[in-house]
C-alpha cells in the first residue's frame, strides 16, 4: 500500500469521527438550551466550543456566544477546521484520492454525504433544524462505518480504524478535560440537580447516556461515570477501549514489524496502566493530570504513525 494512501485512509476516518463528535456536541448544547438554568445557557455553549477545541477560532470571529452563531460555526463554517461541513469536505477530497483502496459503498457513503451537505448549506437553516442536522450527520457517519464492514481485512482497514480510534481517544479525552471537574467528589452537592445535568451532558456527548444505565446498577455517582468513561472496556468511547483498539489495529498491521514495534513500545505503558488501574487511584492522583497526560500521549502516537508510515 502506498504511504500516501495509508495516510489518506487514516485521515478519512478521523474526519468522519470528528464530524460525529461535533454533531453530538451540538446536540448536547441544543438540549441544554431547552432546560431552565439559573446561570443561563451561555456557559454550556462555551464548554461545547471548548470541548470541540475551537473556542479560540470562534472568539476571533464572534464577540458574543450565541446559540445561532455557535450552531453555524460548528456545523457549516468554512473557517472552522472542525465544522461538520469541513470534516465532510476533507473526508471526501481524501476519499476521491483513495477511492480505489476501499469499497465502492464506502465511497458512495462519503460522496452522497458530500452532495447532501452542499445542498444543506445552500438552504437557509433555522433553529428547529438543528436536531435534524445532527441526526443526519450521525446517520451519515454510521453509513460510512457500516460500509467498512465489507472491506478486506488488510492494512488499509487497519489504518482506517487506527485513524478512527486515535480521533475518538482524543475527542473523548478532550471532553473529559473540559468537564473533569464535574466528576470530582464534592460531598455537599452529590446527587444535586446541577451535577445530574452536568453528568448527563458528559454522557450524552459521548453517546453513552443509556449505555451507562445498562452498565451500572444503583445510584449515579461521579466515580461510576468516571470509571465508565475512562476504564470500562465495554464502553466504545472510553479511553481504555480506544487504547485497546489502537493497539489492536496497530499490531494487526502486516507491513513493517519494526515500525509497529517502535510505536507499540511507546504505547504499551499507557495501555497496561489503563487496564490495571482502579478509578479511585486515578481520581486520587488527579483525573485532570491523568487526562492531560493521556492527550499528550495520543498526540505523540499520532505523530509517530505519521513519521513511520506516511513519510
Amino acid at each position: 500500500m502506498l504511504s500516501r494512501t495509508a495516510e489518506y485512509l487514516y485521515w478519512i476516518s478521523r474526519y468522519m469521527e470528528r464530524a460525529e463528535t461535533t454533531a453530538r456536541l451540538l446536540d448536547v448544547g441544543y438540549r441544554m438550551s431547552l432546560f431552565p438554568n439559573p446561570s443561563g445557557y451561555n456557559n454550556e455553549w462555551e464548554s461545547v466550543l471548548s470541548a470541540a477545541g475551537v473556542i479560540e477560532g470562534y472568539k476571533n470571529k464572534y464577540n458574543t456566544i450565541e446559540q445561532k452563531n455557535v450552531e453555524d460555526y460548528l456545523f457549516f463554517d468554512e473557517s472552522n477546521p472542525s465544522s461538520v461541513y469541513n470534516c465532510i469536505l476533507n473526508a471526501r477530497s481524501n476519499a476521491l484520492v483513495v477511492r480505489t483502496s476501499f469499497t465502492p459503498e464506502s465511497w458512495l457513503a462519503i460522496n452522497k454525504t458530500y452532495q447532501e451537505i452542499l445542498n444543506l448549506k445552500e438552504q437557509q437553516f433555522t433553529k428547529s433544524d438543528l436536531p435534524d442536522l445532527t441526526e443526519w450527520t450521525i446517520e451519515q457517519v454510521n453509513l460510512f462505518r457500516g460500509s467498512l464492514s465489507s472491506l478486506l481485512r488488510n492494512d488499509g482497514y487497519n489504518f482506517l480504524f487506527l485513524g478512527l480510534f486515535i480521533e475518538r481517544a482524543d475527542n473523548s479525552a478532550r471532553l473529559l478535560d473540559v468537564k473533569y471537574f464535574v466528576l470530582l467528589p464534592k460531598p455537599q452537592y452529590v446527587g444535586g440537580n446541577i451535577d445530574n445535568m452536568q453528568w448527563s451532558i458528559l454522557l450524552r456527548s459521548l453517546s453513552s447516556f443509556r449505555a451507562f444505565r445498562w452498565a451500572y446498577d444503583g445510584n449515579i455517582t461521579a466515580t461510576k461515570i468516571a470509571d465508565f468513561l475512562v476504564l470500562n472496556n465495554n464502553c466504545p468511547r472510553s479511553l481504555s477501549f480506544c487504547i485497546q483498539n489502537i493497539v489492536k489495529h496497530l499490531t494487526n498491521l502486516i507491513c513493517s514489524p519494526e515500525k509497529v514495534g517502535r510505536i507499540y513500545n511507546n504505547l504499551k505503558d499507557l495501555n497496561s496502566k489503563i487496564q490495571e488501574e482502579k478509578i479511585e487511584t486515578i481520581v486520587e492522583y488527579g483525573l485532570h493530570q491523568f487526562v492531560t497526560q493521556f492527550i499528550r500521549k495520543i498526540s505523540s502516537v499520532d505523530k509517530e504513525i505519521h513519521k513511520e508510515f506516511f513519510n
Partner: protein, 468 residues
C-alpha cells in the same frame, strides 16, 4: 444527411427496431425519472468534470438514454480500420525515432517532424518493449453515410473517455435490464482486464517479475480526467500514484509504500511529457520524477505511452497517416482521412482564405472544441478575425471541409430529435492488437450543432455493438 436510426422518414433500420418499440412505450414520466436517476448516479459515483471556466460545483456530462447501435458487420470494418491505423502509427514512431525510412523515401518532409515540439529528441535510438510507443490509441471517427467513415483525429498520448464508455453501459444495464434481454449487445466490461494485460505485456527488459507491477500515474485530483484515473486503476487493481509517490534509486523506479520501497515495472502515465522528468524535460516543473528517463532508457521501467509519442497525433502529421499505412503495412487504408489543408503551405493557405466560408479551421494545438471556426455557421466578424489569425500565424492552423456528421435519435425535452454524433473507440496494442467492443459516442445536444465536446454542451450515449 445520414441518420443512424431512420433509413427514410418512415423506415426504421432493422437493428434499431427494438429500440424504436422501446421508445414508443416509454412515457414522458418514465423518461424524466430515468434521466434524474442517471444524473444522480453519475453524481454519486463522482464521474464529473471541470471545464476551462471553472464554477464551484463539479459538472456532469449530459447522458442521453437512447443507445447508438452498430451492427456486427459495420463494426468489423471499423475494427479492422482502427487497428490498421494504430499499427501504422506505432510503426511510424518506431521509424522516426530510429532509421527514419519514411523520410528517406520522401513521403514525409523531415522539417515537419523534427521541428515539432511534440517530437522528443531524447527518444532517438531507443526502442521501447515490443516497439510499442502508444499502446492505447483513441481514434475519433465520424460517419457521413452507410459506409462512409472519416477519421477526424488520432489520440496517441493519453486518450480519455473510456470510463464514460464503461459507466454509460453500467447505468443502461441498471436502468433498462429488459433492453439487454432483447438485444444481443457485446459486453465491454472486460476492457480494464485487457488494458492491464496490455500493460503487463509491455514489461521492460530488466523486469524478472512474471507479473509485472503496473501503476497509473495521475497529475492529481485537479485534473479533469481524475475520475477516469481512479476508475481504471480500481478496475485493474493497480496503484494510482502521483509523482511524489515515486522515486528513482540506482537503476530502478520505486513507489513509497507502508512496507518501504516497492519496485515498479510499468507506468501507465496520464500526465504530459513535460511533467515526467524535470531532469530531462522541464527543469521548471515541480512535479515529475527526477531520473525516471534514465531508468526508462536502461530498461528498468516502461513508460506508456512513450515520451514523444505525441508527434504521431500532431494535426500536421495526420495528413500523412494514409501514406504511412501504405508504407509500413503495404495495405490500403480502410478508414478515410478528412481532406485537410495545411495552412503552413502558401498555396493551401490561399485556398483556405478564399474558401473560408465553407471550411472548418482548427488550431494545430487546440482541443476540446476551443479555438475553432466553423465557416458556414459563423458571423462575418468571426470569419474576419480568423482571416487575420491565419495570415499572421499560418503555421498554427489547418482547415477541413465541414462534414455532415450523422444524426442519432436523442431525447430532447422528452421528444426524440436527431442530433449529430461522433465516436471514439479505444484500441489496445501490446502482445496483441484489439479494439474495445464499443466506444464513446459523443452527441452535440444543441440543435444544428456540429460540436460534440463536453466543454461545448456535448453529451454522451451508450454505444452498442450487436453480437453476430
Amino acid at each position: 444527411m445520414f441518420n443512424e436510426m431512420y433509413q427514410s422518414e418512415s423506415v426504421i433500420r432493422n437493428h434499431y427496431n427494438n429500440i424504436n418499440d422501446w421508445l414508443d412505450q416509454m412515457t414522458s414520466k418514465v423518461i424524466l425519472e430515468k434521466n434524474a436517476e442517471a444524473e444522480t448516479h453519475f453524481r454519486n459515483i463522482g464521474i464529473t468534470f471541470s471545464t476551462n471556466n471553472e464554477t464551484a460545483r463539479e459538472r456532469i456530462i449530459p447522458f442521453d438514454l437512447i443507445p447508438r447501435i452498430f451492427t456486427y458487420t459495420e463494426w468489423l470494418r471499423l475494427e479492422r480500420g482502427v487497428i490498421q491505423r494504430a499499427k501504422a502509427l506505432n510503426a511510424f514512431l518506431a521509424d522516426i525515432y530510429n532509421q527514419g525510412e519514411i523520410i528517406k523515401a520522401n513521403i514525409i518532409p523531415k522539417e515537419i517532424i523534427y521541428k515539432k515540439k511534440s517530437f522528443e529528441p531524447s527518444m532517438f535510438g531507443f526502442s521501447p518493449p515490443r516497439d510499442i510507443y502508444s499502446p492505447i490509441i483513441g481514434i475519433d471517427l465520424v460517419r457521413t453515410g452507410p459506409n462512409d467513415y472519416f477519421v477526424l483525429e488520432d489520440n496517441c498520448r493519453t486518450p480519455s473517455g473510456v470510463s464514460y464508455m464503461l459507466e454509460n453501459r453500467e447505468i443502461m444495464m441498471r436502468m433498462f435490464p429488459e433492453l439487454f434481454h432483447n438485444n444481443r449487445v457485446t459486453p465491454i466490461d472486460d476492457y480494464p482486464t485487457r488494458l492491464l494485460q496490455t500493460l503487463m505485456s509491455l514489461a521492460p527488459i530488466k523486469c524478472e517479475n512474471p507479473e509485472p507491477v503496473c501503476v497509473l500515474l495521475t497529475p492529481g485530483p485537479l485534473n479533469s480526467a481524475y475520475y477516469e484515473h481512479s476508475f481504471l486503476s480500481d478496475q485493474m487493481g493497480i496503484e494510482m500514484v502521483e509523482s511524489t509517490d515515486l522515486f528513482v534509486e540506482g537503476k530502478y523506479l520505486y513507489m513509497k509504500t507502508v512496507d518501504g520501497p516497492k519496485r515498479v515495472d510499468v507506468v501507465y502515465r496520464r500526465i504530459d511529457d513535460d511533467f515526467l522528468d524535470p531532469l530531462c524535460f522541464n527543469p521548471q516543473s515541480v512535479i515529475g520524477i527526477p531520473g525516471i528517463m534514465d531508468v526508462y532508457r536502461t530498461g528498468g521501467v516502461n513508460i506508456c505511452s512513450a515520451p514523444g509519442a505525441g508527434i504521431a497525433d500532431d494535426k500536421a502529421i495526420y495528413i500523412y497517416v494514409p501514406e504511412m499505412i501504405k508504407f509500413y503495412l503495404g495495405e490500403q487504408p480502410i478508414l478515410d482521412n478528412v481532406e485537410t489543408w495545411n495552412c503552413e503551405k502558401e498555396q493551401e493557405l490561399k485556398y483556405v482564405l478564399d474558401n473560408i466560408n465553407e471550411l472548418v479551421v482548427k488550431e494545430v494545438d487546440g482541443s476540446g472544441g476551443y479555438g475553432m471556426l466553423i465557416g458556414p455557421k459563423s458571423s462575418k466578424s468571426s470569419i474576419d478575425e480568423f482571416k487575420t489569425k491565419l495570415s499572421t500565424n499560418p503555421k498554427g492552423y489547418i482547415a477541413q471541409p465541414l462534414l455532415d456528421l450523422s444524426f442519432s435519435p436523442t431525447l430532447i425535452k422528452n421528444q426524440v430529435e436527431g442530433r449529430r454524433v461522433d465516436l471514439r473507440p479505444f484500441c489496445l496494442i501490446g502482445e496483441q492488437a484489439q479494439l474495445s467492443s464499443g466506444g464513446l459516442t459523443r452527441v452535440a445536444m444543441n440543435e444544428g450543432s456540429f460540436v460534440v465536446n463536453s466543454s461545448q454542451g456535448g453529451g454522451v450515449k451508450d454505444t452498442w455493438v450487436l453480437a453476430e
